[in-house]
C-alpha cells in the first residue's frame, strides 16, 4: 500500500503516445489489406483450385491459425538471419501479421464465397447480366453483407495484436508506453493510460466500421454488443 497514482508526469507524454497510435494504425491497416489480398488469393484457390494447391492452402491456414503470432514473428525476426535475410523490426512485424492475417481472412472470405447460392447466379444469368454486372449487382452486395461483420471483428483483433510489435522494438503505441515507462517509472499510470487509448481507438474503429457496414452494405452491426 502507500502508493499514490500521479498522472501529471505521464500526461506530459500524451502527444508522444498518440503519435505511437498513428504508427499502430499504419501497421494494422497495411497488415489488414495485405492479409485481405493474400487471403483473397488463397480463398480463390480453396474454392476453384486443384487438389494439390488446395491442400497446400489448407496446411498453410492450419499452421498459421494454430501457432502464436508472437512466435511466428520471433521466428521471422531471429531465424531468417541464419539464411542471410535480415528484416528490420517494423518489416518483420508487418510480414508476420500479414501472413497470419492471410490465414484468418482466407477462411472468412471463403465462408463469404460459400454463402452465394447457385440459384442467385442462375437468376442473374436469366436476366442476361454480363459477368461484371453479376459481380457488381449480385455477388458483391451479397458477399459484403455477409463478410463485413467478421472482417471488422478481425480488424479489431488485429489492432489489439499490434501491441506485440513493441516486443521487437517498433515504437508504436505499446512501444512508446515502454519508453515512457523506463523514463518516468510511473508504470501503472502509463499502462492504464495506454489501455485507455487502446479502448478509445478500438471503440472509434468499431463505431466507424458499424456505420459503414450499416449504410453501405446493409450488414447487421451493433456498436455495443
Amino acid at each position: 500500500m502507500g502508493y499514490t497514482l500521479v498522472y501529471t508526469q505521464v500526461l506530459e507524454f500524451f502527444p508522444y503516445l498518440i503519435k505511437g497510435a498513428w504508427i499502430s494504425l499504419q501497421i494494422v491497416v497495411l497488415a489488414f489489406f495485405g492479409g485481405m489480398f493474400f487471403g483473397l488469393i488463397f480463398a480463390t484457390i480453396r474454392t476453384f483450385g486443384n487438389k494439390l494447391m488446395n491442400n497446400m492452402v489448407i496446411w498453410y491456414v492450419t499452421f498459421f491459425t494454430n501457432t502464436p503470432q508472437l512466435v511466428q514473428i520471433y521466428f521471422l525476426f531471429f531465424a531468417l538471419p541464419e539464411f542471410g535475410i535480415l528484416l528490420s523490426p517494423f518489416v518483420a512485424v508487418l510480414l508476420g501479421m500479414t501472413l497470419n492475417a492471410a490465414a484468418y481472412l482466407c477462411e472468412i472470405q471463403r465462408a463469404g464465397f460459400l454463402s452465394i447460392r447457385q440459384n442467385e447466379l442462375d437468376a442473374a444469368k436469366t436476366l442476361n447480366f454480363t459477368l461484371t454486372q453479376q459481380v457488381k449487382y449480385v455477388i458483391l452486395p451479397h458477399i459484403m453483407k455477409v463478410l463485413f461483420p467478421p472482417l471488422s471483428n478481425h480488424y479489431i483483433i488485429m489492432t489489439l495484436g499490434t501491441s506485440m510489435a513493441a516486443i521487437f522494438g517498433v515504437e508504436e503505441l505499446t512501444g512508446r508506453a515502454f519508453n515512457i515507462n523506463s523514463e518516468t517509472f510511473r508504470s501503472v499510470e502509463i499502462f492504464s493510460l495506454t489501455a485507455l487509448v487502446y479502448i478509445a481507438i478500438t471503440f472509434l474503429a468499431t463505431f466507424m466500421l458499424a456505420i459503414i457496414g450499416r449504410y453501405f452494405f446493409k450488414a447487421k452491426m451493433r456498436i455495443i454488443q
Binding site: M1, Y3, T62, F63, T65, N66, T67, P68, Q69, L70, V71, Q72, Y74, F75, F78, A79, E82, I156, L160, G161, T162, S163, M164, A166, I167, T174, A177, S187, V188, F191, S192, T194, A195, Y198, I199, T202, F203, I224, Q225
Partner: protein, 227 residues
C-alpha cells in the same frame, strides 16, 4: 544448415526435453485454468445480463462495461498492468499467479460474450412460451434455452480456446516459464533460433491442433443437426 544438423543431437538432450515438457505443461495449465474460470464466470455474467429486474440493473451495467473494456485492451497491456499493480501493492510476486489472473479476467469477458450471443440466438417466442408455462427464470435457462443454445456456443468457444493457447505466449514477457520463454532461454544458451523457435512452433501446433480438429468436427456435426 550444416550447423543446424550438427546442433540437433545436443539440442534434444533429456534435460532439454524435460525442460520443454514442463514449459508446455505451464502453457497448457494457464489455458486450462483460464478457460475453466472463463466458462463458469462468463456463463454467470451472461445469465445475469439477461435478467430483467430493476434491482440488478447496476450489475448489468457493470457486466456490459466489464466485457466491453476487457475485449478492447491488448493482452500484453493488461498483463503488464496487472504485473505492476501486483508489484506496487506488494500482493504477490508469483508470476504464474499474475498471468493466470489476467488470463481468467480476459477469458471471462470473451467467453461471457460468446455465451450471451448463444443465449440471444434463441428466439424470443421460446422465452414467451416458457414464461406462459410459468417456468422460473432458471428453469427457462436450464430446460429450454441451454439445450438449444450450446450448439451455437461451442464452435466459437473452441476457436477461443485455441486463441488462449496462443495468447499465453505473451506471458513470456513478464517472465512466466512457458513455451515461448523456454525458447528464448534455449536461444540465449546458444542454440540456433531456427531450431529453438521452430521446435516451439511445432509444440504449440501439437497443443492446439487436436482442439482445432475437434472444434471443426463439432461444428460440422452441429450444422448438419440443425438443418
Amino acid at each position: 544448415m550444416e550447423r543446424l544438423i550438427e546442433e540437433i543431437p545436443s539440442f534434444f538432450t533429456i534435460w532439454n526435453i524435460i525442460f520443454l515438457a514442463k514449459a508446455m505443461g505451464v502453457t497448457f495449465l494457464l489455458t486450462a485454468i483460464g478457460c475453466f474460470v472463463g466458462f463458469s464466470v462468463g456463463g454467470l455474467l451472461a445469465i445475469f445480463r439477461k435478467t430483467k429486474s430493476l434491482a440488478l440493473l447496476p450489475l448489468r451495467i457493470f457486466i456490459v462495461i466489464y466485457t466491453e473494456i476487457f475485449r478492447r485492451i491488448p493482452f500484453l497491456i493488461s498483463l503488464l498492468l496487472m504485473f505492476y499493480i501486483f508489484m506496487i501493492l506488494k500482493i504477490s510476486d508469483n508470476l504464474f499467479l499474475i498471468a493466470t489472473i489476467t488470463v481468467c479476467l480476459i477469458a471471462t469477458a470473451y467467453i461471457g460474450e460468446i455465451i450471451r450471443s448463444g443465449i440471444e440466438s434463441i428466439n424470443q417466442t421460446q422465452w414467451d412460451a416458457a414464461e406462459a408455462m410459468n417456468f422460473s427464470y432458471f428453469q427457462i435457462l436450464k430446460e429450454v434455452i441451454f439445450p438449444q443454445a450450446w450448439k451455437v456456443i461451442l464452435p466459437p468457444a473452441f476457436s477461443f480456446f485455441i486463441m488462449f493457447i496462443k495468447d499465453t505466449a505473451l506471458a513470456s514477457q513478464i517472465g512466466v516459464m512457458e513455451l515461448t520463454f523456454a525458447a528464448k532461454i534455449l536461444n540465449n544458451k546458444g542454440f540456433s533460433p531456427l531450431l529453438s523457435f521452430g521446435t516451439i512452433l511445432i509444440l504449440y501446433f501439437i497443443l492446439s491442433f487436436p482442439l482445432d480438429r475437434f472444434g471443426k468436427y463439432m461444428e460440422r456435426k452441429l450444422v448438419t443437426n440443425r438443418n
